[in-house]
Structure formats: C-alpha cells, structure tokens
Point group: C2
Chain length 334, copies 2
C-alpha cells in the first residue's frame, strides 16, 4: 500500500552520498538531485544512506538539511509572499521529514506539536492513533533519545483540560493488536458510550477509557454494535456542536482508530481547499504515509473528490516541493 | 545487588532438566532437589532450562509447576490450618514465580492483581514504579502475549475513581531515565505539589501528572526542593489521614519512585509482623527482587529492624518454603 517507487537497480549508499554531498554544496542546493535520490529510496535504504554519509563526511545528513531549513525558515518569515523561497522552505521540510527514520520523525512531529508556535493536538492524536502499537512505542523511545524527556511528560505539561485527558492516555497506550473480540464487552461498552453521549459527557472517564485502551478490533466491534443498536454511527452522534474543538478532535480520534485512510483523505482535502494551501499538513501526510497506506489514501481521495490526489496537489503546489510530493505519492505509477 | 548464588560449575541445562523431571515425577514432588537447582540459577540460565525442558519433554516447566499449584491451592483452601500443605502451596508459588521470565512474572502478577479474589492496587503500583522503563515495557509486551489484552486495558476496567486515576498512567508511563534535572521545573512543581496537598486535593490532575510522567531523577530533585522549602518530606505531609487507602498508596508510590529499598524493606516487615504471616507478600518480594536489589533490601531491613532478614524469615516460615526463600536471599553468603 506504499506509493514510493524504487528503481530496479539502486546505486550503492556511498554513490548516493557522494551525489547528495554535491547537491548540498555551493550556494543553494540542487533539489532535483536530492529528490531523484531520496524520494526513491525506502526507509531501510535511507537509513543506510544516513549512516554512510556520517561515516564518510562526519556529518549527519539531517543536520545538513536542518541547516537549510532553519536558514530558509528565517528568510521565509521575513518574506512570506515570495513563492520561490516559501517553496524552498517546504521542499526542505518535506525532505527533512522524509529522510528521518519513521520513529524519529514521529518524535520530531510530536515534539513540534507541543511547542507554542506549532502546537497541534491533531498531530499528537494522529501519531497516537494511526501507528501500530510497536511503532508508537518506537517513537516514544526516539523521543527519549532526542529530547531527554518522555512524550507523555511533554504532552501532559503542555496541554490542559479535556485535551490532556484524551491525549495523554492515547499517546501512552500500548494497545493489544490481535483480532480477538469480546462481544459481551462490545455490547456493554457501546451502551456506556451511548449513555455518555446522550448526557453530553464527552469527556467522561469511561468514554475516554474505552477509546484509549481497547484494541482496534475490539473498538470496531463496539462501534459496529453502537451503530446497529442506536441507529447512528457514533461520529454522527458526536457532531452535536461542530465548532467544539474537543468534539472535533474526538471524532477524528474515532476515525483514526477505525478507518485512518478516511481521516487521511480529508487532511489534504482541507489543506488544499484552504485559502492558501496548508503545506504543513500536506507535507506531514505525504511524508508519514507514503510508505504506509498512501495507496489507499489516494483511492479514498479520488472516490471522495472525483479527482486524483496527484492532480489536486499539482494544481495547488509548485516547483521542487511539488516534484517531491508527487514523487512520494507515486505520480505516474501504474 | 542480587543475592542469588550460582555454583562455580553449573550443570548443562539438559542435566538440570533430567533432574527436575525426576523431582516432578511420582506422588508429591522432590522440593529439595527443585530448590537446589532452580534457586541457584540466574534468569538467563532458568530461561535456558525452560527451553531445554520444552525441547526434551514437550512440556512447559511452568505448566508442571502450575499443575501442582492449582492442586495444592484447592487442597489448601479446604485445609487452611494444615501447615505442611500450606507450605507446599507456598513453595510451589515461589518456585513458579521464580522460574518465570521477569517480564512474564510481572505480567502474571499484574493480571492477578486485577482479579477480584487477588485484587491489589499495591502490586500494580509496585510493578509500575520499581521496574526500569524498559522492564515495565517488557512486562506490557508479555501481558499482550499471555492475556491477549493490554495491562492498562485490564487495570482501567477493573479499577475506579482515584485508584484508576493514579494507576493507569503509572502503568502506561515510559519514563525518561537520564540523570538530567531541570531545577526551574523542580521548583515550580514542588510548589504545585505543596499547594495541592495543602488543599487536600490529593487526586488533583497536576499532582498525578507530576508523579506519573516525570523521570525519577527529576522527581527526586522536585521532592528534595519540596523538603528544603516547605520543611517536611512530602510523605509526612501526605500522612493527613493514615487510614485513607488512596493516601497510603500515594505515599507508597512516592517511596517506590524515590527509594524502593525502603518500600521493599517494609513489605516483609509487615508481612512477618502480621498475625499469621502474609506469605503472598513475602513470596512476591523475594521472587521479584532476589535478582535486582535484595542485597540493599537486606541491609535496609537489618538497619530498620535490628535483625537480619534471613533470621526474621527463618523464625516465621518453615519447611521447603523457608529453604527456598533463604536460598534466594542468599542466606549463608558472606
């Protein structure tokens, strides 16, 4: 279900590194070459490239990209209407995120999401709910290594109220991943959910317990029973107040836990439909899903929007940034 | 700091297995032989014995012990004053727990602690607070494998109110384990703790956040500042109502997070001082700490009780159970 394409014959990591080094050298970088290499290597290959780059040049390739990113970031803040520099910034960000190891990338995104200027409950929820239990744990380990704190420590410190009540257990969970389902539990917990929603007790600890600890298979059974028994999908009942930010996050949580491709179809849809594209969201979805379920996301996107995702992205982005996104979502593949 | 003694020349796992097989055979078991072997092998060696036993006899050695345990359990319920049978039961339990892989043992104990007849918030708190972050995670993995659910799922389902509020994040945490300390955070969080304690808001989410997410080094700095600034150790201030079960658990949580050997010294002290020894507690402490910090627990016990732990255990237990406990705590070592 990944969309990344790997050439039939891949150069050695050392060859890739030599070319990348050249691409970084001099005034400005050669993005074309960077895209040509990195966008067509899978995570194991990128990891090897990073190790080899460090061996040969005694430099972390991420730091090279990061340097670019921070420079551009400053420039772009001073010059928000200059498309080419904005583009440069976005291309750097997507290359940086893409080149990271997936666990490290999640740690990076989660950390960013706790910072004041880039705070996002959505990103935290996404990471907590759409990764496998093992991958979420790997991200927590990477967070320790990089930030010398735990992710739940930072998230609980930087969030408050209902958001904290929901996000901290979501991120701390280590859900069972088997397919076993207990129908007695499904029935009784569907009733609890229904009761709490009727009472508008959306932050009730029982509702949060169920969503944050049950396995995805078990939750699915519970929510199916809910739908059959009470006549509505739970997310319909959670739409009481579409402007309530916590309720919106709760609906997205349910979506991410039960049908992530539907959630992920909507992120680029909203990103593109905005007045001025939301490149951060677009970048995040492409960089984090290209090797996971981008194929299904593309299918879902086309089904829902009657236009293929690559066309939609092409219309709304430009330059190297566009090239990189299209390469990652497998534009031109059959 | 372990107290287990390994003979200078250890027989091969196959030789150990042959002897163990003989010890299990026939009417009753030969506990002496079992103790002689299993109590003098470290966890890696016991793991090998278990694998070898399964290879040779197509039988999990734990199941053999478990069979004994369940039989004896029924008998002992019917005959609570029959010391020899009670002894048999305790010896089986300690051998069973000891033979388990540490992560599996923690999963087993945690699961037992969520069951109605053996429910124990204490055991859950102990596992959550005294294991390393890595070991706690291994126990969560073992819980998946054995019970097809997650530990936080079972614990949050089986607990309520303040106990749930404290235990679920404790068990879900993956604390950072570095020594780095942020003194600004230490000061501000010591103040928060003091405020909440003054308000008797012992279940306040900020108090729980601090105790359940901060690294042990950071907590230590916070609690030292608390002690210096407010004149009392936090546990003294938490003694407002010594009969309040939640407060007692909260104090034990602080103890386990900051000086586990003091907590663990007290468990056998209370177990032995009871009218009728609390063998479950005694067994748990010996089986879970013999390979970790039993040496420090023994030192602390002697310091606090003016009697060595092995003498105290000798006076209060008998038969094979006594032999096994004494072997594990290194009785007779220098």
């Amino acid at each position: 279900m990944a969309t990344v394409t790997i050439p039939p014959s891949v150069p050695s990591p050392a060859e890739d590194c030599e070319l990348l080094r050249k691409a970084f050298a001099g005034w400005g970088t050669n993005e074309d070459l960077i895209i040509q290499i990195l966008a067509h290597r899978n995570s194991a290959q990128r990891k090897l490239i990073r190790q080899t780059y460090a061996d040969i040049f005694k430099e972390d390739i991420l730091k090279e990209l990061d340097k670019e990113l921070s420079n551009d970031f400053e420039v772009s803040l001073a010059c928000t209407f200059c498309t080419s520099i904005m583009d440069l910034r976005y291309i750097d960000r997507v290359v940086l995120l893409w080149t990271m190891d997936p666990a490290e990338r999640d740690a990076f995104l989660a950390n960013e999401a706790t910072k004041r200027l880039s705070a996002s409950n959505w990103v935290l929820m996404e990471i907590a709910c759409t990764r496998s239990s093992h991958d979420l744990f790997m991200a927590r380990q990477a967070y320790h290594a990089r930030y010398k704190r735990s992710v739940e420590e930072d998230v609980s410190y930087h969030t408050t109220g209902d958001f904290r009540k929901l996000l901290v257990p979501l991120l701390s969970s280590f859900r069972y991943e088997g397919e076993e389902v207990n129908m007695t539990v499904a029935k009784s917990e569907a009733k609890i959910l229904h009761e709490k929603i009727l009472e508008k007790a959306y932050n009730h600890e029982e509702l949060i317990r169920i969503l944050t600890t049950r396995s995805k298979a078990q939750l699915n059974a519970t929510l199916n029973y809910y739908n059959n028994e009470f006549g509505n999908a739970i997310n319909k009942d959670l739409k009481a107040d579409p402007k309530d930010e916590y309720l919106t996050l709760l609906r997205a949580t349910v979506k991410c836990l039960t049908c992530p491709e539907k959630y992920y179809e909507k992120v680029p849809r909203s990103a593109i439909n905005k007045l001025g594209t939301d490149e951060w969201a677009l970048t995040r979805v492409v960089a984090t899903r290209a090797e996971v379920d981008m194929q299904r996301i593309k299918e879902e996107f086309q089904r829902r929007n009657s236009v293929p995702l690559d066309i939609a992205i092409s219309r709304d982005t430009s330059g190297d940034y566009k090239k990189m996104l299209l390469a990652l979502i497998g534009h031109g593949n059959n």
